[in-house]
Amino acid sequence: MRRVVWVGFLFALLTSGAALAVQPDEILKDAALEARARDLSRELRCMVCQNQSIDDSEAPLARDLRILVRERLTQGDSNQQVLDFLVARYGEFVLLKPRLEWHTLLLWGLPPMALVAGIIALLMMMRRSSAVRMEPAALSPEEQRRLSTLVESGTPDH
């Protein structure tokens, strides 16, 4: 099952057809072409499933897409052409790895931006703390008083 209990029922909807993912009759004779088809399948979403690639999915739609990908490949399409074809037909939703466009800018940009911002913040904090280290803080009046009693009495004030 899809690991956690609460999606079980969703998954159940998908498995009620109970056919496994890639079927023997789908597999291409040309091993190199089949390998390319498998690679592409892992990047394509089964649109009626919850976040499954067509390579993993058991839904009839995923099977249709797998066959379609193989048809395009045997007709001599490049990987990019196959992806373009599918995006033109089904929209960007079909890609599991969104393309870098303005509306996905934040998606791709936020993690590296956070990393860089974190590094800059750390560097700034380090500079500030090393500046602090230059001058040790002055003693508070209380500490001053304790120090002088210590010096005068010559014994620790237990």
Partner: protein, 659 residues
């Protein structure tokens, strides 16, 4: 009677929770010891009442009381007893009750074992714990009551989803919840510290065992979920970057960062503000995870909008707790005094590096999970973010983390010697590089990533070993000295080395299984043999075999290696009549750390049946590594310093004093 009893007990728990939310704080303000002590009793009684409530629900399920709606919808009289029991939390309402059961358990544990805590801190922690509990009691009672009855008792239940009729349901959700909910303690401690405005190294020492406990359970829970998915899905995938999985990975990443920053705070009194923030964030991510999977927002933004009661309620809880805690943090954090200066190259520096990369990795998962939802809600555009995205973004961050990992424990506190440490790690680096070269050569240069990954994993493992060798002085000092030093080594040092090698073991398993796994997907006829990676599989035939509440078609296959029979594999398909659904049960055969994985497809008209046979080299290491990580955590948890401050057992007074 039982459902009403359970319902009533839960209402009583809420009443106690409301008292506990207020009384101890007033007590701490007015120095009223009685009010402070009250929190101990209410926390223990809250747990007792929730336990009664949970037990009542269990009895409803086990006795198949179909007058209760959730039992009717998720159980069946012919189910084996274990599944009648586990189906208690195999649905929304019941799993929320398990959630609050564990929440109240942790509250009771703080009350019971928090004897060494300052009274005011403990009072605040218990009160805040109770705020969370009350919010979720209300959520259950108002929107997800598991005890509601049907006007007329149906004759039979609708059965538990067959996919959940698995031992995995008994193990995975409770472990996951123990982890998820366990982080609430760290959260309560953080809020208590902010309210009190007092935070020091001792605080970190009190928080660490709770965080470590939650982390251990979450690690194990995620790993068990992954193994469950692996053997149930029929094709041996173990991680899918599914939003539901990400929901558990986010608190794990933040929690791992918290564990490490708490070390700095405890040892060096530094990173205080950051540690408090991480404690807040970790539990907030647990809450966000709960919201994601509970509100239906993942299925589609529209599904959420159609039936928003539950979703809006959790969203309100989310806004209240996350927003409230962050606001409190913003107002109080500047007042917290920073302490413990350190050079960039030092143990502290390494742990800061760890935190930077872990939180960025966590952010990557958050963005990847929430971005499609946000985009659809705002612009209506639908995009998918799946495994290829996460592999590309999360992967490099983790590689950097792994590379730095052996350096951390070897660097000195305050000011470390990077070059010196690099020299001490020379053998680890050398072994890693040799491994890269060997794997690259053997593989014939097919891929660069896999040899690199293997080398990195070995480097981390050897690096962890070097840490232990250096500390014990093995091969350098006389054996007796080594033994004494090993015995004197803090258990947390052993824990660090073991947990670090655990993640390397998992990494090795992931790389091997993903890169060198092989598969055959073919239709076979009886007596036909197929070969894969030196194994020969002969199909013997299909038989019907009835189960307790299903009927199964079982395929019998003989597995041979070099002509010798090594076992029989029996994958099956089960049909459950109650729901008209079927499941695929793969057959697994373990060979060392590798596995052969066989699942059954459709039968064809010509008597052949489709099968999928996989050889998964070293795949078991993925979960072995997680268990090793957990053991490292457990060892660290038993460290002496975490018990320091606990009352020492009094000297035996029965002994007569010496004359």
């Amino acid at each position: 009677m039982m459902p009403e009893l359970g319902h009533y007990a839960l209402v009583l728990a809420l009443a106690l929770g409301l008292v506990q939310s207020v009384a101890p704080i007033i007590g701490a303000r007015t120095h009223d010891a009685a009010l402070i002590r009250l929190a101990n009793s209410t926390a223990l009684m809250q747990f007792a009442f929730v336990a009664v409530s949970f037990a009542a629900l269990v009895i409803c399920y086990v006795t198949s009381d179909f007058s209760v709606i959730t039992v009717f919808e998720n159980s069946h009289s012919t189910m084996p007893l274990i599944y009648k029991f586990t189906s208690v939390w195999g649905n929304h309402e019941g799993s929320m009750l398990l959630w609050v059961l564990i929440l109240s358990l942790f509250g009771a544990l703080v009350a019971g074992f928090g004897g060494n805590l300052p009274a005011a801190l403990k009072a605040h922690v218990l009160a805040i714990q109770s705020w969370i509990a009350c919010a979720f009691y209300l959520f259950i009672l108002l929107t997800s009551n598991p005890f509601l009855r049907l006007p007329q008792t149906p004759f039979e239940g609708r059965d538990l989803n067959p996919i959940l009729q698995d031992i995995g349901l008994a193990i995975h959700p409770p472990l996951l919840y123990l982890g998820y909910v366990g982080f609430s303690i760290a959260f309560s401690f953080a809020i208590a510290a902010l309210i009190e405005g007092r935070i020091d190294a001792a605080w970190a020492r009190w928080v660490r065992p709770w965080t470590l406990t939650a982390w251990i359970f979450l690690t194990l829970g995620i790993a068990m979920g992954s193994y469950w998915a692996y053997y149930t899905l029929g094709w041996g995938g173990f991680w899918f970057w599914d939003p539901v999985e990400n929901a558990s990975l986010m608190p794990w990443l933040a929690g791992t960062a918290l564990l490490h920053s708490a070390v700095v705070m405890e040892k060096r009194n530094a990173l205080k503000v950051w540690t408090i923030l991480l404690a807040i964030l970790t539990f907030s991510l647990s809450l966000i995870g709960t919201f994601l999977v509970r509100s239906g927002v993942l299925t589609s933004v529209h599904a959420f909008a159609n039936d928003p009661t539950r979703g809006v309620f959790i969203l309100a809880i989310l806004v209240l707790f996350i927003g409230g805690s962050l606001a409190l943090f913003a107002s109080r954090a500047p007042a917290l005094k920073q302490g413990g200066l350190f050079a960039p190259v030092s143990r502290e520096g390494a742990l800061v590096f760890n935190n930077l990369f872990l939180t960025t990795a966590c952010l990557t998962v958050i963005v990847g999970t929430l971005y499609p939802l946000a985009l659809e809600a705002i612009t209506g555009e639908k995009i998918s973010v799946g495994a290829p995205f996460f592999n590309l973004t999360f992967g490099p961050l983790f590689v950097a983390l792994m590379f730095a990992m052996p350096f951390g424990p070897l660097l000195a506190w305050k000011r470390g010697d990077l070059l010196g440490v690099a020299q001490r790690l020379m053998s680890a680096l050398a072994i890693g590089i040799v491994a890269v070269a060997v794997v690259f050569a053997v593989e014939g240069g097919q891929s660069v990533l896999a040899p690199f990954g293997v080398g990195l994993a070995l480097y981390v493992m050897v690096g962890a070993l070097i840490d232990l060798l250096e500390r014990t002085g093995l091969f350098r000092l006389p054996l007796a000295t080594v033994r004494a030093r090993a015995a004197g080594l803090p258990r947390s040092a052993w824990g660090t080395a073991i947990a670090h090698s655990g993640i390397a073991i998992s990494m090795l398993g992931i790389i091997c299984a993903a890169t060198w796994g092989t598969e055959r997907i073919v239709a076979v006829k009886p007596k036909q043999t197929i070969s894969l990676s030196g194994y020969d599989l002969t199909f013997e035939g299909l038989v019907q075999r009835p189960g307790p509440n299903y009927s199964a078609v079982v395929g019998t296959f003989t597995m041979r290696s070099n002509g010798a029979v090594i076992g029989v594999m029996e994958p099956s398909k089960r049909s459950f009549s109650a729901r008209g659904m079927s499941t695929n049960e793969a057959a697994l055969m373990t060979r060392g750390a590798s596995q052969l994985y066989l699942s059954l497809g459709d039968a064809n008209n010509d008597g052949s049946v489709a099968v999928r046979l996989y050889y998964k080299p070293m795949v078991m290491l993925i979960w072995v590594g997680a268990v090793v990580m957990m053991l490292g955590g457990a060892l660290s948890l038993s460290d002496r310093r975490l018990r320091v401050g606990a009352p020492k057992p009094a000297a035996r007074s029965t002994l007569a004093p010496a004359e």
